[in-house]
Symmetry: C2
Subunit: 341 residues, 2 copies
DNA sequence: GTCAAATATTTACGCGAGTAAAAATTTATT
DNA sequence: AATAAATTTTTACTCGCGTAAATATTTGAC
């Protein structure tokens, strides 16, 4: 175990250099001569010293932390996005801090409050959406360089990166109509703007193809989508609420619930012979390939979304926290044909 | 929008009080007289001031942050535990910071390094287990009050809280034997000690009941359990590797993969007439009730585990970072009978 | 109204670093 | 070797707040 060094002053002594030089080194190792860099790194092997984060950040106006806020971390979709974002932040020399609002407005507000206190270099925020405190969020975005992702809120933040629901939903509707009955749309009360956009995209797509849109709207609160999909799926099936045997769900988690309901009701799902129903989702949730049957869905471009969000934030940070203008980047989805539809 | 106040000095002026009093207030609002508290809170409504986190923590030896580290956040099991833990920390006036090792040793090491720099009041750590850097972890635990949960590492940390695999696995084995063929055990290379314990518990339980243990061990790396369960499940089914028609998986995610494989192979899963196979899991993963068929499993006691972990950490923190002795708390699992077995 | 107890103010120093300016030293160039 | 350029050292001040000690003020009890 190496000997602990309490502060930079002491470390400067044991490494035979002056404190400002050490300070420069930790700010950027390449800013000091090779020979002194070697001295420092040799000392670092012998002594256990790392600069005090709090003392460092006290003076810096902007720190090296980046806040990442998602609405619901128990959703592997967000876990996956967060994972990629974290990675890219680390690679760029930042320290990401991850927060989940757990679907609750009060928590999102709290998180943003304490995040502001941390003076982060920037924040990547997937807002609750409908559940967000709009005014508070606006204040926040004015103080802290923020890029929104996944769920857009008009005019908030320096940029938005997400999926193009008006491309992805028609893609799926087209596919379903081409290969069988036109789909009904299975949705719950929208927790965020995507859900709304998807419904509208569904209606548009159906009209364009000359079909009557059939929306099966069910009640259900919160972010326990599987639960809602299951419970309300059971009811919908019992009441013959699905006008056709093809159901497009507003997201994969809802589809997973519906799949479970259909299974329990003895309905065979899929596009083959003897199947009573086709079910499709949206997102290509990490678990979608392991449902029974595997879920046909539209894949969101995780990689592009996370990469682009981070890039956008870095741009903003370099531009002193203000983007020239607010850019919205929408990535197209890709059809993932599996067994369920 | 309220007027921004740069520091405590200035805030003291506008609220007509002295800085030390303000300092006391933020340390504990009840430590000042009601009348001054009111003054401060009135000023707080007019002016936008919150103390600088970094300046505060620079002097405090122990901060009010608590680190929460899990091995793999995209696993809803950990997401759920983390959620409960976070909540309890917040309620107790701490600021939890959540980190995921994403299954990688290097990342766990990095996280612990930067966590140490944050001088947290304590850390709740679910270690990678087999993948952890044992020596580094030991150093860490000596510096920072740490409570391990989920995966135990002998002698590390001030306490351990987890599930009692030697109770839960026999519970399931008994049930399966009582209601049908004795189970084989489906497992992959153990990423953490639980997997090992579960295998041993399975062997013990089978022997006790006078049955020959049948272990189906498959290859597979990392934390993509569903993927391994699926891929290797397909192979195992093709090769008739399951000695009996009942399979106990070392965890639910593996079971979900196997379920998908069985479905694809046209095997009907469940305990009823015409079923080819029974599949059981372990953990009661949040999605386990939505598989097709719903997964029979052993529920881990999420609530007790998270609550007890936090309590244990608080005890340690109050006892100045050192527990009298290292206590291991194991909670029993409960059988969750669903349709799959 | 008096006096002790409780609370607030004043004053002053410390924490661990960032950083700026001037002086001193090292390195590179010719 | 002389000189210019690059780097390091010295010195000193800043940041925002914790905290301790002495002093002053307010409060409550009688």
């Amino acid at each position: 175990m190496l000997h602990k060094i309490p502060n930079m002053e002491a470390f400067a002594r044991v490494s035979g250099l002056s404190r400002p030089t050490i300070s420069k080194y930790f700010h950027d190792p390449d800013s000091v001569r090779k020979s002194t860099r070697d001295k420092i790194e040799k000392a670092l092997e012998t002594y256990d010293y790392r600069p005090n984060v709090y003392a460092i950040n006290q003076n810096r106006r902007l720190t090296k932390t980046i806040g990442v806020v998602v609405p619901y971390l128990a959703d592997p979709f967000f876990a996956e996005l967060a994972r990629r974002i974290e990675r890219r932040c680390i690679d760029a020399g930042f320290s990401p801090l991850l927060f989940s609002s757990h679907g609750r407005r009060a928590l999102e507000v709290d998180i943003l409050h304490s995040l502001r206190a941390l003076k982060p270099a920037g924040v990547l925020l997937a807002p609750l959406g409908r559940g967000s405190d709009h005014d508070m969020l606006k204040d926040f975005c004015e103080d802290v360089p923020t890029v929104l992702f996944d769920a857009n809120i008009e005019g908030l933040g320096e940029a938005f990166v997400g999926s193009d629901n008006f491309q992805s939903i028609p893609l799926m509707v087209d596919y379903l109509c081409r290969t069988g009955e036109p789909p009904c749309f299975f949705e719950m009360p929208p927790v965020n703007p995507n859900a709304n956009k998807r419904r509208r995209a569904y209606v548009d797509a159906m009209m364009r193809l000359g079909h009557e849109p059939q929306i099966v709207h069910v009640e259900g609160e919160g972010w326990g989508f599987e639960e809602v999909g299951y419970t309300e799926g059971i009811l919908a099936i019992e009441r013959h609420a699905f006008a056709t045997g093809t159901v497009l769900c507003s997201n994969d988690r809802l589809a997973i619930g519906l799949l479970a309901a259909a299974y329990e009701k003895g309905l065979r799902i899929g596009r083959g012979q003897g199947c009573a129903m086709r079910i499709a989702g949206h997102d290509d949730h990490p678990f979608a390939r392991f449902t029974c049957p595997a879920l046909t869905t539209v894949a969101q471009d995780y990689e592009s979304i996370s990469d682009r969000s981070v890039d956008a934030l870095f741009d903003v940070i370099e531009a002193d926290g203000k983007a020239e203008r607010r850019v919205e980047t929408l990535f197209p989805g890709t059809l993932v044909m599996r067994a369920s539809a």
